[in-house]
């Protein structure tokens, strides 16, 4: 890595008054450094350089500002950098406010940085406080849901940002404030085709919120109605019987024959986990039965090929078709599990996980063999064809 002397030299080139071409080369070089782990760790030891980078995000040269933003994105992606990045909160606050400017060209980059900085609990707590005080999470949700707030930015990364924030109970309280309309605005984005980042962020947010089972009744109520938006990405074009159709929520009735399911398996898994969480209370389970959730899951299970997602689906289906638990055990999230049982269950889970992974490996191997076989025969065919043409 660079010596202290070389680092000091770099720093001198990072002042606003430095010659633009020198500045530009330096920021470009540092961006390159930040592209790998060692470079990041090196920069971690040079807080002055980082401060200089923050300052240069306001440089009149778009190229230089861009390099700085991308460097910061890389740095923020590394957890060990979070402490040093947050040493001077004021710098962060200045950057934050820029997001509110509808003309600002680097809003998306700022959103990525914010999203990275909120991933881990400790920094997340600090970030939430800063966000609430300076910009207000409500404003961020508003910007996230506004179609054309800023022509140059899409704000998709606010999705994972919100998802990260909802690790915190205070963020969840805010999202599910009954006196406001916050979480409801996110629902329609569970099917936002244009961005998997946005979709994933929204579903992650909803999943985190569903850990609070005190809010389940409100979430499942007609006024809020979270259920259809969780089911839609998992529903397909298959026709159901009339009886099953009648129970379905309005949004799931008469789906066109070209209806596609969510294509990202991780998001599918999160949706299933969210649904499973909502079955914790008896009231929730009753609503699931009334709204024909099982038939949708049944068809989904037939369609799904990923082993992990299938496992999540099966867990949900077990609850949907299983008998009601005995009195006293109705809220599955509150049941006291005796220690030995808990141990056994954890071991069983670990074993299941192992088996799933083995199965996945096996499937992958089979696929590769198939591919190899096919390419062999294709190769042979191509040779034949080529022979013919000649």
């Amino acid at each position: 890595m660079l010596s202290d002397f070389e680092a000091a030299e770099l720093l001198s080139f990072l002042t606003p008054e430095a010659r633009p071409d020198v500045k530009g080369h330096t920021t470009s070089y540092i961006l390159g450094l930040s592209g790998n782990r060692d470079g990041c760790r090196f920069l971690r030891t040079k807080p002055d350089i980082i401060t200089a980078l923050f300052a240069l995000t306001s440089d009149p040269s778009i190229a230089i500002a861009k390099d700085c933003y991308f460097t910061l994105i890389n740095l923020s992606a590394d957890e060990t950098l979070h402490q040093v990045l947050l040493t001077d909160i004021k710098v962060l606050q200045v950057m934050l406010k820029k997001v509110l400017d509808p003309e600002f060209v680097f809003s998306d980059q700022i959103c990525s940085i914010l999203s990275n900085l909120t991933r881990h609990l400790k920094t997340c707590k600090i970030m939430f406080k800063v966000l609430q005080e300076d910009v207000g999470v409500a404003k961020l949700v508003e910007i996230f849901c506004a179609e054309s707030f800023n022509k140059k930015a899409k704000f998709h990364h606010l999705g994972p940002l919100l998802s990260n924030l909802t690790q915190l109970p205070e963020a969840r309280s805010f999202m599910m404030d009954k006196d406001r309309c916050v979480i409801q605005r996110l629902f329609s984005y569970t099917q936002y085709q244009a961005s998997v980042v946005r979709r994933g962020g929204v579903v992650g947010t909803l999943r985190n919120c569903c850990f609070d089972h005190a809010h389940h009744e409100w979430l499942l109520s007609d006024d809020v109605d979270i259920l259809p938006f969780l089911m839609l990405p998992l529903a397909g074009p298959e026709e159901l019987t009339e009886k099953e159709n009648d129970g379905l929520p309005v949004d799931l009735q008469y789906l066109p024959e070209d209806k596609k399911r969510e294509e990202d398996p991780d998001i599918r898994k999160m949706l299933l986990e969210t649904l499973l969480l909502l079955t914790a209370t008896k009231a929730g389970r009753d609503i699931f039965e009334k709204k024909s959730v099982y038939p949708i899951m049944r068809e989904f299970h037939k369609w799904e090929t990923d082993v992990h997602v299938t496992a999540a689906c099966e867990k949900l289906v077990e609850v949907l078709i299983g008998d009601e638990p005995e009195p006293g055990m109705e809220n599955l999230l509150e049941v006291d599990i005796p220690e030995e049982v808990e141990e056994k269950l954890t071991k069983a889970d670990a074993r299941e996980q192992e088996e799933l992974e083995k199965e996945q490996e096996r499937m992958k191997q089979e696929e590769e063999e198939e591919k190899k076989k096919r390419s062999d025969t294709e190769g042979a065919e191509k040779e034949q064809e080529a022979g013919l043409i000649r």
Partner: protein, 392 residues
């Protein structure tokens, strides 16, 4: 009047006596005192329709004060606003609108008054069912004062009544930005959203139904053409302007063919394809001798004529058969090729499908028709003169 200047009381007593016997001039009478009261502005319970200065001079005077052209415009506008509000309270929305409009026309510089005038006029329109006007007024109010809660609520409500649900949600969202905890706005948003989703479901349902119907039509036409059955083109192709390029040719063609399938029979019976993919045709039997017809609503293509004839003529002969000669065994069946002026004889044992597939058979108006005559009858001799007779 008695002279009141003496000190004696005698005149007084006399004076007082008079009150007991004579009424004073211009007294209210027992019968009309309520009517009279209603004419006095102070005692009016509601404003009269037209303030006629002859019958209500006092009210006309008051009104002149309200409409005092010399007062500053803000004052006039405020007075008109109050007047409008009074009419509104009486549910006289038309009059209220007039007052508010007059107030707005003062073009006074006070934006608060103007906002209220617009919002109140929006409310009056709303109660009259003029949703479009209500929405326009609410929008105008919102333009002047974007945070005016009543305008925001009224705008959202109007959108919902106009079934413009997505717009309604937008109004609510705009309002909730400024008044995030307002219950009414939240409630309206939930309502608008719900209706929007129901409307989307209805449109999906309609699309699927249309597609199904279209599919059934196509299947029917395909079944007919696959069998080599020809439909007689009676009408000119209808020009469809709304169709897109690709759709128009096949859709127009199928529409045209379906038009040809429409039976002119009042029963509205039509050829259909059953679940086993068998066609059933509405068939006409013509009895030119007696100018009679029989209509079979669903003649299965795999059925033969014998069965139907037996059904119709087997047990009882029809009343129009005055000669009592239309026994099944005496009957002959033909179909006519009008173009070539030929009659083709159909043996009763033949299946309907076979006949329909004949190269000179054209289904007219969706109903295959057959001529039924009695073998060797005088009518037949006459009828068949000049026509060519052929077998199938």
């Amino acid at each position: 009047m008695a002279a009141p200047q003496d000190d004696s009381d005698d005149g007084m007593d006399e004076f007082m006596e008079k009150f007991k016997t004579t009424t004073y001039k211009n007294a209210f009478s027992k019968d009309n005192w309520e009517e009279e009261f209603d004419k006095i502005p102070m005692f009016m319970k509601k404003a009269p329709e037209e303030i006629d200065s002859q019958s209500y001079p006092e009210l006309a005077c008051l009104q002149a004060m309200i409409h005092d052209e010399d007062a500053p415009p803000e004052e006039q506008a405020a007075n008109l606003k109050d007047e409008g509000n009074e009419f509104f309270k009486e549910k006289n929305y038309k009059k209220a609108i007039l007052s508010y409009t007059a107030g707005l026309n003062k073009k006074c510089g006070d934006q608060n008054i103007n906002t209220v005038l617009l919002t109140n006029r929006a409310a009056a329109h709303f109660h009259l069912g003029n949703m479009r006007s209500a929405l326009n007024d609410a929008a105008a109010a919102k333009k002047i004062k974007p945070d005016h809660l009543k305008a925001l609520i009224r705008g959202a409500q109007s959108c919902i009544e106009l079934r413009s649900f997505a717009e309604g949600v937008q109004w609510c969202d705009e309002g909730l930005k400024i008044h995030p905890t307002d219950k009414k706005l939240q409630e309206l948003r939930a309502t608008a959203d719900k209706h929007k989703r129901a409307a989307e479901r209805d449109s999906r349902k309609a699309k699927i139904k249309e597609k199904k119907l279209h599919g059934e039509k196509e299947a029917l036409l395909a079944a007919i053409t696959d069998r080599g059955i020809k439909l007689f083109q009676t009408s000119k192709p209808r020009h469809r302007e709304s169709d897109g390029e690709e759709e128009s040719s096949s859709a127009a063609l199928s529409q045209l063919s379906l038009d040809c399938l429409s039976s002119q029979e009042a029963t509205g019976a039509r050829v259909f394809l059953d679940e086993q993919h068998i066609l059933h045709w509405p068939v006409l039997f013509l009895y030119p001798e007696h100018q009679q017809t029989d209509f079979i609503s669903a003649f299965c293509e795999n059925d033969c004529f014998v069965n139907h004839l037996a059904l119709m003529f087997g047990e009882e002969l029809p009343p129009w058969d005055t000669d009592r000669k239309y026994h099944p065994q005496n009957l002959q069946l033909y179909f006519e090729d009008e173009v070539k002026d030929t009659l083709y004889q159909v043996k009763p044992e033949t299946l309907l499908l076979k006949v329909l597939q004949h190269k000179r058979f054209f289904v007219k108006a969706g109903s295959p028709s057959f001529i039924v005559v009695v073998k060797g009858s005088p009518f037949w001799e006459q009828f068949s003169t000049g026509k060519k007779i052929r077998g199938l």
